[in-house]
Point group: C2
Chain length 202, copies 2
């Protein structure tokens, strides 16, 4: 039943308007990086007891630290180290989840040159321990998102090693991976996309 | 059959002597920190395809980075952040593994003050997703190692919250946890200790 004020205007609870406004603002926020979108999604999963998935800290080689009196230690010299694993991991319904997130501005293919060999090796090791390893890939220019399982990725990686093309074409991506849409809450529901896919395999 | 040289001395293959020597050196290395021992064990697990478990990088808040010409980026100002999760996680035979490693010099109890509340919260969330969460605790002075499952730890944590003692006594530790011995390869076979325990529950 719609409640109406004596002036004929429809009654809208305050919370509802607020929520809707926020929703519009967030949803139109196309400038977010994939990392931000995934951090938002992981926070949503965590606070709703859906999964425990975190981004790992950036690995740093610390060379010098100063300890000023009465204040926090300051790192005054440090260097970035290349990661030996993927960026994200955690647990979802008893499953070990491990993935790497990558963006590309290309409209036609996903370049393989910014994937590190030790990350590929890591994902292979995860698969061998019955974990779930995959890539989340965003084509930023055409605003499309894909989940690519390591098992499919590996074929294209090996094609490159064998001297073949150094990228995965969009057409190949469409064929091999799960496409997902950005939404409001969570921003990128990659676990729902995974679940649909896993159930379709049963 | 033992091969003997004409002089009556027993033949010992060169490799065997070498291996034995190395073993003795490593085994007597009691000065290692628990972190070193666990990193060695995790490397052993990884190279023998037993499990994929890594220590997470220390979380750092980066404030300033310089980019000198023709050399690597230098972080010139950064601060340590307190970790929001545990230090170690990974996958073993399809199981999600998550633990925190702590040393104490006390001979009689394990103090709870250097456990962060958000780490406890994180472990609780892991349990709810059917992951395995535990502490590996080393009493350095008496050289004893314990695996304490989160479920048991929680009772003592709650006792502290309720105003009770701020530590777990050694007697309580002996009763609630799995004790393990340091060895050669891997240095700390915590997965074997877990496996024995999990099988004893069946």
């Amino acid at each position: 039943m719609t409640i109406r004020y004596p002036n004929g205007k429809k009654y809208v609870p305050v919370n509802q308007t607020t929520t809707k406004k926020t929703a519009n603002i967030s949803f139109s926020n196309r400038g977010k990086t994939l990392e931000d979108e995934l951090n938002d999604s992981n926070e949503y999963y965590l606070s709703n007891n859906i999964a425990v998935i975190h981004k790992k800290p950036v690995p740093i080689q610390i060379v010098n630290v100063k300890y000023p009196a009465r204040s926090a230690a300051v790192i005054t010299e440090a260097y970035f180290r290349s990661p030996s694993t993927t960026d994200y991991n955690g647990v979802w319904k008893g499953l070990y989840i491990d993935f790497e997130a990558k963006e590309t501005t290309s409209k036609t293919s996903f370049p393989l040159q910014n994937i590190h060999e030790h990350q590929v090796k890591h994902m292979k090791q995860v698969i061998e321990q019955d974990g779930l390893a995959f890539f989340i890939i965003k084509f930023t220019t055409i605003d499309r998102y894909f989940i690519l399982f390591y098992e499919y990725f590996e074929k294209k990686w090996e094609r490159m090693i064998a001297g073949g093309r150094k990228s995965i074409t969009l057409a190949e991506m469409e064929e091999m991976s799960i496409e997902m849409q950005a939404s409001f809450q969570p921003r990128l529901d990659y676990l729902a996309a995974l679940e649909n896919h896993l159930q379709s395999l049963l």
